[in-house]
């Protein structure tokens, strides 16, 4: 960990996040269209809101990126006029922090599917903690609460874990990740050819 993130890293992270911020807003309307059923079908797609962190981290592979991405995505969503208002900011910080902690626990050296899934679960945990404070979901009857939690965790693993991982794999194929990742020393050695 050198002297923190460079301007390029920050700007790229924030732009990824803002792109997700737009998706989040659109996602909100899908979410509301399934929500009134009450049986927590909506929770299955809740995991989408945790995606920015893992995606940004897997693209840039640098410390602090996941947290920044979630905060930035939430701010983007907020500025674009999310009906959730300032809550998204609070949630964003917590979700990002939880994901960041997972990446940190592995010293920012792991970029596989498992780590993405772990980060997704962590973000989900963070959101549940927030929900206990804000939504008073503890007051739901037990069977309903369980349904709620299971649905949300499954959704998170799918969207923020598996989907995020494969999204970055496809992005890598477009060559864009080379722009933001460090160049290997092997490339420098090849300068001495002939």
């Amino acid at each position: 960990m050198k002297k923190g993130l460079k301007l390029t890293d920050i700007l790229v992270t924030i732009v990824i996040a803002v792109a997700f911020g737009i998706v989040y807003i659109l996602w909100g309307s899908i979410y509301y269209s399934v929500k009134p059923f009450g049986l927590h079908l909506d929770q299955l797609i809740y995991g989408m809101w945790f995606m920015a962190g893992p995606v940004a981290f897997l693209v840039l592979r640098k410390p602090g990126v996941a947290l920044l991405a979630e905060i930035a995505a939430a701010s983007g969503e907020f500025f674009l006029g999310s009906p959730w208002g300032l809550t998204v900011l609070l949630y964003g910080v917590v979700q990002g922090l939880f994901a960041e902690l997972v990446f940190m626990a592995f010293k920012y050296k792991n970029f596989n599917l498992a780590i993405a899934v772990l980060a997704a679960i962590a973000s989900c945990l963070g959101s549940v903690v927030m929900d206990f404070a804000y939504g008073e979901i503890a007051a739901l009857s037990v069977w309903n609460l369980l349904l709620f939690l299971i649905a949300r965790f499954i959704g998170s693993i799918f969207f923020a874990g598996v989907f995020a991982y494969y999204l970055v794999r496809v992005l890598e194929a477009t060559g864009v990740t080379n722009l933001v990742r460090p160049v290997s020393s092997k490339e420098y050695a090849e300068l001495d050819q002939k």
């Binding site: 732009v15 737009i22 009134p36 500025f79 939504g135 007051a139």
Partner: protein
């Protein structure tokens, strides 16, 4: 966001202070457990929003639709499935109790309050002003602040790019395929170029910013300078009054059953 509205005194409140106060209010709202009090505070904030956001009534009504949606959707789950003693109504899995009903209203009003606070802020604050103020009052590092501003500038460009990609797909003969597999391909065909294009653009802009001698030192001057004024005092005072008056009214003139 659309800034077509007129400027009001709310626009002139120090942006960092405004954000700070609204955040504090969000936190305070987490500790309000009385539906009457919550309702009063929500109404107080809505009044501020309606009277001083500077936007036309039509525009605000349009923004209001999601508010109602939030209210209904957030409270319904709690009302129909919440725990409680005093049973009002039961049908299959659905059981409406007095406690769950009141809690449903509480949660609904809280969601509405948050939405109102958020809109009040985003409709009366230009992001650029907020980030300048954050750099000055909260000492946010310039590299973060300018990155945010540059990224927000990119949003309309991304929208434009989305149309372009769609058109390009048409030209290349993409639109013809249909079916479930085509949906997957379409999703991929839009999201990947959009995302990778945005990353490339972000990288270019960062390079251009560094070429303009941008460094992350604390020493810089500011084109927009923010301090504090009378309006800030009025703003703080307004919320103190709302909180106190709301509390008083909730105790002495409750509108909802206790």
């Amino acid at each position: 966001m659309n800034f077509a509205g007129a400027e009001t005194w709310l626009h002139k409140v120090n942006p960092s202070l405004k954000l700070g106060i609204l955040m504090v209010l969000c936190l305070v709202a987490l500790f309000i457990h009385d539906s009457n009090y919550m309702m009063n505070v929500t109404i107080g904030v809505l009044l501020l929003f309606l009277c001083f956001s500077g936007h036309s009534i039509k525009h605000m009504l349009f923004l209001f639709v999601p508010f109602c949606f939030i209210f209904i959707s957030t409270s319904s789950a709690m009302i129909f499935f919440g725990k409680g003693e005093t049973l009002w109504f039961k049908w299959g899995l659905i059981s409406v109790t007095e406690e769950s009903f009141m809690r449903g209203l509480l949660v609904g009003f809280r969601a509405m309050l948050f939405a109102a606070l958020g809109l009040t802020f985003s409709l009366t604050t230009r992001p650029v002003n907020l980030f300048y103020s954050l750099m000055q009052q909260v000492k946010l590092k310039p590299k973060y602040a300018y990155s945010f501003m540059a990224a927000l500038r990119l949003i309309p460009i991304m929208m434009e790019e989305f149309h372009m990609i769609r058109n390009a797909m048409k030209v290349r003969g993409f639109a013809r395929s249909t079916g479930i597999k085509a949906i997957y391909f379409k999703l991929k065909a839009y999201s990947i170029p959009l995302l990778s294009g945005s990353i490339r653009r972000a990288h270019r802009i960062a390079v251009a910013m560094e070429a303009k001698r941008f460094t992350d030192t604390a020493h810089r001057t500011y084109y927009y300078e923010y301090g504090f004024s009378r309006k800030d005092q009025v703003f703080i005072l307004y919320f103190i009054i709302v909180l106190l008056a709301g509390f008083y009214l909730a105790i002495h003139f409750p509108l909802l059953p206790k």
